[in-house]
Amino acid sequence: MEVAAAKMIGAGIACIALVGAGIGIGNVFGSYLSGALRNPGAAATQTTNLLLGFALCEATGLFGLVIALLILFAF
């Protein structure tokens, strides 16, 4: 019984990784917007880097989710 409860708590704690992902995505788009508003001419050339940064950031949070799923289903 305690093991089942500890699994649930552990999976919940693993989701804290999403805090970092949230901060990261906010940073990516915030920095992009502040840069784009200063120099709108160069903004269009940087959408590739924007999307790449967004995807890489989002993935870091999802690694936490994978850990949560591993705790819940794999052990």
Binding site: T48, L52, A55, L65, V66
Partner: protein
């Protein structure tokens, strides 16, 4: 009705085939829903790309435009990330990109199966990429490829940096595969969880009209998932290009 959000990822034999097709060294091989979807993705994308450009019209139709645009998109991506000599990897990167993109999009069809939500598939693709990088690096630079792990730094920092570079290289197949797998898994789980809300509210009697709220949310999340489906295919392909660039040019920029 089964509301388990993880049930959609179950790999199971289809067409009522309970007996394995064949067995390799004692391991039974079944024809599963995943094998079916992978086949559909591969055949559909190959047929579309072949027959869309077959008539080779001067003024392209919508289908031909799509095929040509995806070709140019990937070619530009490789050219900007790896330079001129990376273009010989175009067939490899284009195949990877189209396969991942079509798998993600076919997975968005309700009731179908997402091939890329299986770590076995994504890890196979990622290890293929890393093996290509290693073989390319050793074929081009010989033993000098190992200079990839030695950055320009004073010797006392190298003691620290070489293990870091080694670990970061060796974890690439894991991060590349887990990124795609986790994105697909998380998105589809989220859709299923919100779908469960709709069913739970819709059957709750007086509260039934409230079920429209999670339904609208599902529509919004579906749009986000379409973006993610494209973005993850793009990220997979561009990271492949970046890794290939390192194998081709080591530390000097093209």
């Amino acid at each position: 009705m089964n509301l388990n959000p993880m049930e959609q990822f179950a790999v199971k034999p289809i067409f009522g085939m309970d007996k394995p097709l064949l067995s390799i060294a004692g391991h039974p091989i079944y024809f599963t829903n995943q094998a079916l979807l992978m086949g559909i993705v591969a055949v559909a994308s190959a047929l579309f790309l072949t027959f869309a450009v077959k008539p080779n019209r001067l003024v392209p139709t919508r289908g031909q435009s799509m095929a040509e645009m995806s070709y140019e998109f990937v070619a530009n991506m490789i050219h900007s990330a790896t330079g001129e000599d990376g273009l010989k990897f175009f067939p490899f990167v284009f195949t990877l990109f189209i396969f991942v993109l079509c798998s993600n999009f076919f997975g968005m069809v309700p009731g179908s199966f997402t091939v890329t939500s299986q770590i076995a598939v994504t890890f196979a693709l990622a290890s293929l990429v890393i093996l290509t990088v290693i073989v390319t690096g050793f074929a081009k630079h010989g033993i000098g490829f190992l200079k990839l792990f030695v950055p320009h730094a004073p010797w006392y920092l190298l003691i620290l940096l070489i293990p870091i570079e080694l670990i970061s290289f060796l974890t690439r197949p894991i991060s590349l595969s887990v990124r795609l797998f986790a994105n697909m898994l998380a998105g589809h789980t989220m859709l299923a969880v919100f779908g469960g809300f709709v069913v739970a509210l819709g059957t709750a009697g007086a509260l039934a009209p409230l079920a429209i709220a999670p339904m609208l949310l599902i529509v919004a999340i579906m749009l986000l998932e379409l973006l993610v489906a494209f973005l993850q295919a793009y990220v997979f392909a561009i990271l492949t290009c970046i890794y290939l660039n390192e194998a081709l040019h080591l530390h000097d920029h093209h």
